[in-house]
C-alpha cells in the first residue's frame, strides 16, 4: 500500500507547495520522500514570510508526513489517467 510513495517519487525534483496542519505553506523543490510520506524540500520559500519569519534563515527542510494537510502539485507534472489506473489496481489487488 505504498502507491502514494511511488507517486511522490515521480515528483522528486519538481516544485511543490506543502500546506501543513498548522496552516504554514512552504514552496520548495521535492528532494526526497519516504514510505511515511515524510518529505525533504530544498530551496524553500515560505508562502507568508511576513506572518511567519520562523524559517527565514533556512534553505531546506525535513517535513514530518503526519503534519501535512495538502501537497499542491503543478498539473503538468501529473498524469492523472495513470494515477487513476494505479488507484484501480491498488484496490483490485485487495479484493
Amino acid at each position: 500500500m505504498s502507491m502514494f510513495y511511488y507517486f511522490f517519487k515521480t515528483l522528486v525534483g519538481k516544485e511543490v507547495v506543502v500546506e501543513l496542519k498548522n496552516n504554514l505553506a512552504i514552496r520548495g523543490k521535492l528532494h526526497s520522500v519516504d514510505q511515511y510520506l515524510n518529505m525533504k524540500l530544498d530551496e524553500i520559500d515560505v508562502e507568508d514570510k511576513v506572518q511567519h519569519p520562523h524559517l527565514l534563515s533556512v534553505k531546506n527542510c525535513f517535513i514530518r508526513g503526519s503534519t501535512i494537510r495538502y501537497v499542491q502539485i503543478p498539473p503538468k507534472d501529473v498524469n492523472v489517467d495513470l494515477l487513476q489506473d494505479a488507484t484501480r489496481h491498488e484496490h483490485a489487488d485487495k479484493s
Binding site: L20, Q35, K40, F62
Partner: protein, 104 residues
C-alpha cells in the same frame, strides 16, 4: 535496519545547528546531536525563539533537550550566515498555530 533516504537527511545534519518547529507551534534551535527513525531528536545548547507581533524576538535558553518525534513538524538546517543578516530585535511574527493530530 534498512536506512531510508530520509534518515540520511538527519544523519547529514548531525552536529549542525537546526531549527525544529514543534506541534505546539514553538521554534527551537540547537545543535543536532542524535536522532532516530521516528524523528526523536537530541539537541544541545538549545534555545527557544519566541516570535510576537508587538515585541522583539525572545530567546529562552533550554540546554540539552530531547524532543519526541511525535511532536516534530519541521526540522531545518539553519544557515548561520543568513541568520546573522537578520536583526532579531526588529523581527516580528505571528506565533505559529498548533497542529491538531488526526484532523485535517
Amino acid at each position: 535496519h534498512h536506512l531510508t533516504p530520509m534518515a540520511s537527511t538527519l544523519a547529514e545534519w548531525t552536529g549542525k545547528t537546526v531549527t525544529v518547529i514543534t506541534c505546539d507551534g514553538r521554534s527551537i534551535i540547537g545543535q543536532l546531536r542524535g536522532h532516530d527513525q521516528l524523528q526523536n531528536l537530541i539537541l544541545s545548547n538549545s534555545h527557544e525563539r519566541v516570535y510576537s507581533i508587538d515585541a522583539p524576538v525572545e530567546m529562552v535558553p533550554l540546554g540539552l533537550y530531547v524532543i519526541r518525534g511525535d511532536n516534530v513538524v519541521i526540522i531545518s538546517e539553519l544557515d548561520e550566515d543568513l541568520d546573522n543578516k537578520f536583526d532579531l530585535t526588529a523581527l516580528r511574527g505571528e506565533p505559529l498555530q498548533p497542529v491538531a493530530q488526526n484532523v485535517l
